[in-house]
Structures are given as C-alpha cells and as structure tokens.
C-alpha cells in the first residue's frame, strides 16, 4: 500500500513536470494576445466561435475541440451561392497547396447558412470538389443562427422571384491548433496572401 502510494506520487510529479515542460514549449501559444498579420485581421483578442455544435456529413457532432491539433479555417456560405463561396473555397484549396506540408494541418470547414436546402450529402460532395480534406457542417435553423451569431456573421434571406438567395459575411475565421481564434481573412485577399498569414498563425501555435 505504501509502495503504491509512492509510485502514484512519482507519477504525479512526472506528469506535473511534463505539463510544465509543454507549457514552456508552447509559451507563445495562448499567452500572446496580439499577432501581426500582413494581410488579414488579428482576431486574437476576440472571443468568438468557441461553442458551436454542428453535424458533419456522417451525422457526427462536431465542435471546435474536434479539430484540436489542426488549424481550423471556418467559412460560412451556401451551395447556391455562385460567386463568393466557390471563389473562397477555391482560394482555400490553393492556399493549402501553397503552404506545402504545413498545409496538411489546415482544416477547411464550410458551415452552411442554408440548412433548409443544403442536404448533408450534397454539401459534402460540394466541399470535396474543391479539396477532399474539406469538411462541411450543418445544423438546424436555430443552431445555424446561434453559430453565426457566435462568430458575428451576418446573414439574411433575400427573396428572389419564387425562391431566395442569401447575403452573408464572407470572412474566413482561422483558429490556432489549440482552439484560439487568431485571424480573419477577407474575401478580397489572394491565395498567396492567405497562405502567408496562415503560416504566421502556425508559427505561433
């Protein structure tokens, strides 16, 4: 009994030592409240997008924590969007390639703002047409609205004849690998500019 107590104690010490070590290694990670980006907007001091809970194509629940260790880049849109959505997803695919091996850690996530029309199967085929690693997430109308609100994403239905289209925020939101929001990339930036700023995020964490 006494023996096992001391073993436990030793283990604890080792664990504590390890966590201190990892804190030291990742010192720049969550402590730096400001980052300097060449093109995008530093969002390090913004607390946004931490609590979303949506579903992926397989119906699995996905949260920010599901992407730990990866660098999630989240973009909101809808598949019937002819302009900014495909252009932004194509740009993301190109930026990922430009990042070389570091691009493997970039996880592009497309959240639909039109869950009434974007079925999970179609959404999945849509994002994977840009890059097979891309993921699409969807929720109920309420979950979608709550997620958009959490990110400060504006969206509204615009009646268009017998149907409707959507107006929406076109920013891509980038988190570091520990789930801290870092960077906002505007739709006007090129793939090269995005890649440079994404690599800056990776340097930090």
């Amino acid at each position: 009994m006494l023996f096992s107590m001391s073993t436990l104690y030793t283990r604890r010490t080792v664990l504590r030592g390890m966590s201190l070590l990892s804190l030291g290694l990742l010192a720049g990670c969550d402590d730096s409240s400001k980052l300097s980006f060449k093109y995008g907007k530093d969002l390090s001091d913004k607390i946004m997008g931490r609590n979303f809970k949506l579903k992926d194509a397989q119906g699995e629940t996905r949260m920010l924590g599901s992407y730990r260790g990866l660098m999630p880049m989240i973009f909101f849109g809808f598949t019937q969007c002819p302009a900014v959505c495909p252009t932004t997803l194509a740009r993301a695919a190109q930026a990922k390639k430009l990042m070389g091996r570091d691009g493997d850690r970039l996880q592009v996530i497309f959240i639909t703002l039109d869950p009434e029309r974007d079925t999970s199967e179609m959404l999945d085929a849509y994002v994977k047409a840009f890059d097979p690693s891309f993921e699409a997430l969807y929720g109920t109308l309420e979950e979608t609205a709550a997620t958009a609100k959490e990110f400060g994403v504006f969206f509204e239905k615009v009646p268009s004849g017998s149907t409707y289209t959507l107006s929406h925020t076109a920013t891509s939101y980038v988190f570091d690998s520990r789930g801290n929001l870092r960077l906002g990339l505007s739709a006007s930036l090129t793939a090269q500019e995005c890649a440079e700023d994404l690599l800056t995020v990776m340097e930090v964490c």
Partner: protein
C-alpha cells in the same frame, strides 16, 4: 403607283438588310462559362463578357438546363456579400460589360440535372437597344470546374 410601290419595296428591302446587320453585329459575347454543379445542387452561375454597338440592356436569359434563370448582382461591403436580383444590366455602347463572380451574373436555378465539367450549356439572351428593339442571341457556354478561380479579379501587380 408602280414607282411608289417599288420605292416601298426598296425601303422594306433596305430595312430588312439593316435588321439583319443589327442582329449579327449588335452584341458580341465572349468567354461565356458556367460553373459545374455537384449532384443535387439546385443552382449554379453563368458568366461572360458582353459588348453592344449601341446603348442596350440585357433583359433576360433562358436555358434548357434551368427552369428559372435570373440576373443577379453581387456586391461586397465590409466583407459582407450582398446578393439581389436585378431587372436588367446596362450595356453602354462599345463598352465591354463583364458578368463575373464579382458583380453581375446569371443564376441558373432549378437545374434539370447536374451540370458537369466540360458540358456545353445553351444560353438564350434577350438584349434590348435604346429604340426598344429586342434581339435574341443564342450561345453555348462551356462548363468549367466548380473550383474555377475568377481570373478577372486577379491583380497581376502583386504577382512576381
């Protein structure tokens, strides 16, 4: 009476020639393309450059691949993309007007099926000139990959 008749006929003949010329030379369309869709996707966009000889406007578009075709305008302010249907697109004389992913574009809605890369999509455009005369232009647009980047937006000054 006979001479009057022949003048009338001549005038008619001339105006017919005039019409034929107008129809063939009034509006030029170049670089027309359609973005490919995935299975089940109900709509996609068509893009092109139009140039009219006289002040005209693009009134409507039809296509056998879509039950509804609308002309939309996209605008961007503070990184918010706004979309809306427009009645027509002005085509000022001699000026190329681009329908591209950054402005006006044609929405092919209620697609009859998947539009696959490489497929030719027929588009029928109705253009009206300042006199109120309409012309119908039939073209075939090439379907490009879903992930096609818009090259008209590329800023070459930033490229090395």
């Amino acid at each position: 009476m006979t001479s009057f008749c022949s003048i009338k006929q001549l005038a008619l003949g001339l105006s017919l020639i005039g019409m034929a010329w107008q129809v063939s030379a009034q509006t030029l369309i170049s670089d027309a393309w359609v973005r490919a869709s995935v299975a089940g996707q109900p709509s996609t966009g068509a893009f092109m450059t139009l140039q009219s000889d006289t002040d005209s406007k693009l009134l409507s578009v039809q296509s056998p691949v879509a039950k509804t075709v609308q002309i939309h305008q996209m605008s961007m302010k503070d990184d918010v993309m706004r979309m809306g249907q427009v009645e027509s697109v002005a085509l000022p004389a001699g000026k190329p007007v681009s329908l591209d992913p950054n402005g006006y574009h044609i929405m092919l809605m209620d697609l009859t099926g998947q539009v696959k890369e490489g497929a030719k999509v027929p588009l029928i455009l109705t253009v009206e000139n300042a006199k109120g005369e309409t012309e119908t232009i039939k073209i075939e647009a090439e379907t490009r990959a879903l992930g096609t980047m818009d090259h008209s937006k590329m800023d070459h000054s930033k490229m090395n």
